[in-house]
Point group: C2
Chain length 248, copies 2
């Protein structure tokens, strides 16, 4: 096993950081790494906002309801961005681009471009001995995030990435067994998938009972039903459409 | 610079592979790496189909119109997958989950989960000396991909990842200068962005004129207008809705 794969396999989210800011060199390396990810049709349809302004970090921490959004070594906000791809178009060209900018295909393109870039950034940071945590909960109030950074049309904030020197050392969290998410040539049949998930429920039950903090009694399948049963972020869809994405 | 960051910075898409299949150990390592990526609310909302069946690879190659979709060391198909998260729900629970499964928020969650996993797989493969190429063009006929693998509700094929031993050595392709995609605290103003993109157009003009194959005269801003002006994959939106995603 090489050190890159070791870094990848040792990932766990870090939610407590030392009060040590990242240096410019570290930030540059992480941002460079983000930019080298694959991109659909060379669109590079993402932007990153590095958040240093304490007032803005506080706003994001309140939206996310997580202290580590404010207290970290650096905070990156990843956006899907097709604005840059369109600003050199004249009015007539823009008119012919608009239906494409608005279709679901390009919402996918921009979201995936941003996610690939973010995962490059995450791995680069972890390879430097830093810890990371993705922050999807900025979407608790996606409109306010948008307004805080005054994002133009065709730019959507997707998630944050908190980075810093780890101040705790949590266990790695179990993942689904390979048989439950990797299939050859055919999607696995439902009964086999059911058996795999029942076994995984045993694994995760033990993990929750034995981990060093936040012990609880739970299973994965129950957790999923619970998580997905509560109405959540119903404003994300309309917000995204208001930014001229995902309209057709 | 460590070897992980070197691997990330040296990325270029490989589109010609030697006729050498990946071994099981390599595939296992790459799939393990994929599974360790961050995941929203522990949903692990993605699946991977390893495609070995030559008939199915041929179908995908025809859809993508790319020979390397058939000729590679291994082909992975990444899917957004919330099916697994819902099969243990009873009828009443499923009824309360359905509006959430259908909202845009969870379409984002599943797409991002799949993309983060894929980028882990890509970097793991590259760290092993293999080359990779993402294949978004499977979405040229997303319904046929779905039917070829008989994907259940709540499972969407997003993109392929071709992996193998490189049989060519293309240059790395320029990326946007940092100033055009990384901003601090505020989205950059339009005039500054315009200047950055004009400079990048010079870079990319030289790249296209000087690269070892497929030389042409082009700029990035012109290319973007061209790419986005042609109606493209208008069936992706309706297909995704037919799989009970992105409906509200």
């Amino acid at each position: 096993m090489n050190s890159t794969i070791e870094t990848i396999l040792q990932h766990r989210s870090i939610r407590k950081f030392k009060a040590e800011k990242l240096g410019d060199e570290q930030i540059n390396t992480i941002v460079d790494a983000a930019s080298r990810a694959s991109t659909s049709s060379y669109m590079m349809a993402f932007s990153i906002i590095g958040v240093k302004d304490q007032r803005k970090k506080k706003i994001l921490a309140e939206i996310s309801n997580q202290p580590y959004v404010q207290e970290n070594g650096h905070l990156l906000l990843f956006c899907a961005d097709l604005y840059r791809n369109s600003i050199h178009a004249d009015d007539k060209q823009y008119e012919s681009m608009l239906p494409n900018l608005e279709n679901t295909e390009h919402f996918l393109v921009a979201s995936i471009d941003a996610a690939l870039a973010a995962q490059n950034a995450a791995i680069a940071a972890e390879s430097l001995g830093l810890g990371i945590c993705y922050i999807g909960s900025i979407r608790n109030n996606i409109q306010l995030v948008n307004d805080t950074f005054d994002l133009p049309q065709h730019v959507i904030p997707l998630f944050g990435l908190a980075i810093g020197v780890p101040n705790h050392s949590p266990e790695t969290k179990p993942r689904l067994p390979k048989e439950a998410f990797y299939f050859e040539d055919n999607y696995v049949d439902k009964s086999k998938l059911g058996t795999e998930l029942e076994e995984f429920d045993q694994t995760i039950k033990q993990y929750y009972e034995n981990r060093s903090s936040n012990k609880r009694i739970d299973s994965w399948t129950k957790q999923m039903v619970r998580v997905l049963s509560n109405e959540k972020r119903t404003d994300v869809g309309p917000f995204i459409q208001s930014k001229q994405y995902n309209r057709r």
